[in-house]
């Protein structure tokens, strides 16, 4: 064997993988071919540590994004991570993360209508925090897609390796829905968008290894141009109206290489690529550099032969580069030409299907069902929790995002789930979240809790959950502990989806979230999309009417939960998921009736924080009298304000579901079992994140 270990390290490939390639090809790969494998077999493109498990447990389609329907309008949605680039260059990392996921949505033929981000940092106001938020603001605002929701959480587990997961949502008419699968021999692969440079070379293999501060990884991060993206969105929308478009694929990790090979392989065809036709922004790029470049703001369209000029006209209008860079072929070979010269010739399926390395490691995680009790005073703990940056108001973050551009935003950030208007009276409710505290203690049960929490958010905002997407953020999958966590989380999400009877429509996996040997907490981030029947009839997130009764729906006495925000211990609480699923169903039914005036799901910080948030939002107080634990956390519990005089009707509707009347709305303080706390005090604590500015 001629290859050296240094050369293999340079392309992030193991010697076993190299030997597999030599065995199957019956020869050594040339330079171009070696780089092709290094990118396509990287974890980031090939998903070798996850693909088989995801396929088996989630039953997702292999299109660019999942889809649910609101009548005849398709809602395309997907989450993707951009953790590694954000660790190295937070501003550009976050900006290009937005750009990338937006292109997944436009590849479905859908117009992007909303963005949400799940951000996990060590603490507020760090370099990474500021950079990521500025990057989202700069890019998302410019392309005119509102950032309507998400979360910002803090935990020292993310000090070197932040998590930046972005969910994009788009709408598409049934007849314009696009596939990523090629069809027909001799059709043209068209590249539209920006010129190709050396940006983001090795981005895919970079994202598939740990972050090493001693390496200069900055050249692996791409640079975004939101103005080019905006033109690409508009041009793509016009192109997707054409009859000659057979398939669409965005160019993300491993750029031209990955998008065009996946498109043709999924269609059972072969591919000839001509790298010399790619518009370049730098001179003397090698074929492999052109193939792997992750220059942003590019799309691939498969166009019926003879109709290329129709696409070209639209590209010209939007001042985007256009090039016919390849064609589909009958055999299943992947050939790359540089002018007349054949520079790579490989079996296509071998390129797109890396060896499977997924593992099923079972682990037991401790669980407790001892009931949690509380006898203390409340003020100090409540103020402490409200000012915890994870719970505190994120107004200073979301006011930097344009959350109303498009004029479709009905429920803004800061509420449980965002609501976006779709058509006539109908809309969608959107939630995206993870909880490393939960999934670190118990990746199986914790993941279910994360899913049920996202559904609770959607329901509290008046939606009926229709589909689930996810992004699995984990450490190094070669470590047994991490592999076990991943397997448990995958099972947890699959079980949760069955319990709730909501399909998982798509997902993304991010491994190697580690730095200096420190693994992040396993952090599955779950996105849920729900249908809203009437966007003008959704409950408020805050207290509305003085005198209205306040109810807790969901379990009254809950077990000790080691993941609750007010305590740290090593065991997760025992949850009866069937009862939780029934509660969700009942709440969703009752919220569609007008007697629910305001609603908020109980999450971090328990019912005391939930009530405080509802009071601070409208600066209307409440008097609560209950022996229910104020701070303990347990899934699927809600605080509801019921229209005064309709208590009986509500209680009848809730038959078979645990609930409790806990208080009444009114006053300018929160009174908890006689202990009085001024709303202004609570507001000051809650908005403490802003005081750092």
């Amino acid at each position: 064997m001629r290859i050296s270990s240094e050369q293999l390290e340079k392309v992030s490939m193991s010697i076993d993988e190299y030997n597999t390639i030599v065995n199957i090809l019956g020869r050594e790969p040339n330079e171009t071919e070696l780089y092709i494998f290094s990118a396509m077999w990287s974890e980031h493109c090939g998903y070798k540590h996850s693909k088989r498990l995801i396929k088996e447990y989630f039953n997702v389609s292999d299109e660019n994004a999942g889809i649910v329907w609101i009548e005849d309008v398709g809602i395309a949605f997907k989450v993707e991570s951009h953790n590694h680039p954000c660790a190295v260059e937070p501003f550009q990392g976050a900006a290009t993360g937005i750009g990338g996921i937006i292109r997944d949505i436009i590849a479905m033929g859908a117009r992007p209508v909303a963005l949400l981000d799940s951000l996990h940092f060590s603490k507020p106001h760090t370099y990474i925090y500021e950079g990521v938020i500025s990057g989202i603001s700069a890019y998302g605002n410019s392309i005119g897609v509102p950032t309507v929701g998400g979360e910002v959480r803090f935990d020292s587990a993310y000090s070197e390796n932040p998590l930046v997961n972005v969910m994009a949502v788009g709408t598409v008419k049934k007849e314009n829905l696009k596939t990523s699968k090629a069809q027909g021999v001799g059709n043209s692969v068209i590249l539209i968008g920006s010129k190709t440079g050396r940006n983001g070379l090795h981005g895919a293999s970079f994202a598939s290894r740990k972050i090493d501060q001693s390496l200069n990884d900055r050249p692996s991060v791409q640079v975004g141009d939101p103005f080019a993206e905006k033109r690409l969105i508009e041009a793509s929308m016009e192109i997707c109206e054409l009859d000659c478009i057979i398939a669409v694929q965005d160019m993300g990790a491993a750029g031209i290489l990955s998008s065009t090979t996946e498109m043709t392989h999924d269609g059972g065809l072969g591919l000839d690529l001509f790298v010399d036709r790619v518009p370049l922004r730098e001179k003397d790029m090698k074929p492999w550099e052109i193939l792997l470049s992750e220059s942003q703001e590019r799309m691939a369209f498969l166009v019926k032969k003879g109709y290329e000029h129709e696409v070209e006209k639209i590209a010209e209008k939007w001042e985007l580069d256009f090039a016919k860079i390849g064609k589909t072929t009958l055999n299943t070979e992947f050939r790359v030409f540089d002018g007349e010269k054949l520079v790579a010739s490989l079996p296509l399926s071998f390129v797109t299907e890396p060896p499977d390395l997924s593992r099923r490691i079972e682990r037991e995680y401790p669980i407790t069902d001892e009931i949690s009790e509380w006898n203390g005073t409340i003020e100090n703990e409540l103020i402490h929790l409200l000012s915890n940056p994870t719970i505190a108001s994120k107004k200073s973050v979301y006011e930097r995002y344009d959350y109303t551009v498009g004029g479709q935003t009905v429920k803004s950030p800061g509420s449980d789930a965002a609501v976006v208007h779709i058509k006539d009276s109908k809309g969608i409710a959107l939630s995206l979240g993870g909880n490393g505290r939960y999934t670190r203690l118990n990746p199986l049960e914790g993941t279910k809790a994360v899913l049920f929490e996202a559904c609770s958010n959607v329901i509290a905002s008046g939606g009926k959950p229709l589909g689930i997407t996810n992004c699995m953020n984990f450490g190094n999958p070669e470590i047994d502990e991490v592999a076990a966590q991943f397997y448990a989380a995958v099972k947890g999400l699959a079980e949760g989806s069955k319990l709730l009877d909501i399909p998982i429509t798509g997902g993304n996996v991010s491994f190697y979230n580690e730095s200096n040997g420190k693994q992040i907490s396993p952090t599955p981030v779950v996105g849920v999309i729900g249908g809203v029947e009437d966007v003008q009839r959704i409950p408020s997130s805050y207290f509305v009417n003085v005198g209205d009764p306040i109810y807790l729906v969901g379990r009254r006495e809950v077990p000790k939960n080691g993941a609750s925000m007010y305590r740290n211990s090593d065991s997760f609480c025992k949850v009866n998921w069937n009862v939780c699923a029934e509660t969700l169903h009942a709440i969703q039914q009752i919220i569609s009736k007008e007697l629910v005036i305001s609603a908020h799901d109980v999450s971090s910080g328990g019912i005391a924080v939930a009530c405080a948030e509802m009071a601070i939002g409208s600066m209307i107080g409440a008097s609560i009298s209950t022996n229910i634990h104020p701070f303990e956390e347990y899934p699927t519990r809600f605080i509801l304000e019921i229209q005064k005089g309709h208590e009986k009707e509500f209680e009848t509707e809730m038959k078979g579901i645990e609930f409790s009347k806990i208080g009444t709305i009114g006053g300018n303080s929160l009174i908890w079992n006689g202990e009085k706390i001024a709303l202004s005090t609570l507001k000051d604590s809650y908005e403490s994140l802003e005081e750092f500015e």
Binding site: F227, K230, R400, D402, T404, V405, H421
Partner: protein
Amino acid sequence: MKAAVVVFEGTNCDRETFQALKAINFDVDYIWHNWTSLENYDMIVLPGGFSYGDYLRPGAIARFSPVMKSVESYTMKDRGIVVGICNGFQILTESGLLPGAFLKNKYGNFICKMVDLEVENRDIFTDVGKLRLYIAHSDGNYTTDEKTLDLLEREGRVLFKYTQNPNGSIHSIAGISNEKFNVFGMMPHPERSSLPYHENMDGLKVFEALKRCVK
């Protein structure tokens, strides 16, 4: 009455502006930045967004587009009115059709929030004293020289002011007009408060008042 919504590359509030104008019974067309015949329209709206990516300076590139030459002659012919919203306002100051200029927001960052506005010109906005509208911009800090400021105030050309100045604008100015009252610019987005599912419908009052300005 006919209205035109001008679309530059990078414009991103065109759709909702179109909807809002339709809601007050305008016939609305989108017109592309190279379009030059505007005589058919009673109102030309330059919507918000990031025309040409806001590269160089917001509005600095859009002002050179063919449509802006036509907008200029349109205003001289007293045909109808021109309304610039957010980036549209920035394009109008860059073209010299409205006085003044924009600086970065006082606290640096992009701000998106609902703000309270005091109506200054009650001749145009006859039926409203206060408005609540969304702002969403990085460069909304309006400034001009003392003399112009004095003229704006004296001639009733300040349309509305922020109750709590969010961006550092001089005299808290949020919207102005030219001296002929046929060119209007405003940073707040009336189109985001125009439909029944919006937080309020104050924006529709703004568009209706402007519609009355068309002779």
